[in-house]
Amino acid sequence: MSSTAPTAGFLGAVLLAALGCASAPVPREEIAKAELALAQAEAERASAHAPLVMKMAREKLDKARRARDDDKNLRARRLAELAEAEAQLALVEARRVRAESAAEEMQETLRIIEEEIGRGR
């Protein structure tokens, strides 16, 4: 194998990456899915329990839109996909934290009731 071919391929890939791969389609669907996921997470107030992940998700969506506006569609697609995934992560994390806290509180309630029965005058 000649030593120039992989180098040329590599340089080509770098060039394409630098151009933001303008041949990629506008990631409308990916951005829409990210927006939906963020809206669902916001509706369930996921930022209350997973503020950092929500922040990251929102930032990525903003960057995705800007990249799309800049015709950097590949970059935009990737950012949108990550934004969607992170929004869903925030949502499930918020659910987990809430459910586990509620379960703990319920345990405490049971303990108190048990005591009252035991104390039973």
């Binding site: 391929g9 890939a13 990456a17 950092l52 990550l82 995934a85 499930v92 659910r95 039973g120």
Partner: protein, 269 residues
Amino acid sequence: MGAEVRHERRVVAAAVAFALTGAGCATPSPPVVEAVGREYRATEDERRVADNAPMQLYEAKQAVKRLRGADPDDAAEVEHLARLARIRIDIARRAGAALAAEQSLTQLGDERDRMLIRARTVEARQLEAEADQAMRRARLLEEQLSELRAEETVRGVVLTLREVLFEVDRARVLPGAEVALGEVAAFLNEFPERRIAVEGHTDDTGDGAYNQRLSEQRASAVAEFLVAHGVERQRMRVLGYGESRPVAPNRTASGRQQNRRVEIVLDRR
């Protein structure tokens, strides 16, 4: 919050690991792909995830598949798909935990309801036991004292004091009645948390207004005696009903005699 930092760190670690393997070199299967594959399989093995979050697990599986299908020479895409797959795996894990906690919550809720029922039952039994105790004591009193009759009603234990306790047409308690009333005071103080009603009644002979006043005075006299014998005034309400609540027909002498009475009620709690 620690979980989020872990997420960020994982993302950075993936990027670093990837950079170290040499972006763009024609490696058949980048190490990160194998690493993510292992992480997925570990998650798939977690019962909590497999049982509770099959959909999220499926999404993670699809993401790993997509990662495996990526061109190993396309470093950026591999890195991107690895990040994505790791997030999906994380989602599956947390969804498993969330659903497990929610199920636990439901079971705990049922347990709480059962316990509350038990607690109420225990309480109800205790109240019944106390009510029984009061009635038993009252019956003893009845056996001892001819001037008194004891009965259990919806209101509580009702002691009926016959009119022999009073001078005819007067509201003063006769000296002979003091023993009986003393016993009644002692009985009432055995149940100090319960409220008491002292109620005077007459037959229908004579003026209605006069009977009303007489019944009030007699109730008052009994109440004063009880207070003097240690029963707390705040527990008592003292009322006269005049002729308005007969317990027997007023046309016979014995009926009228029954109507001339004072009732002491030990409230149900």
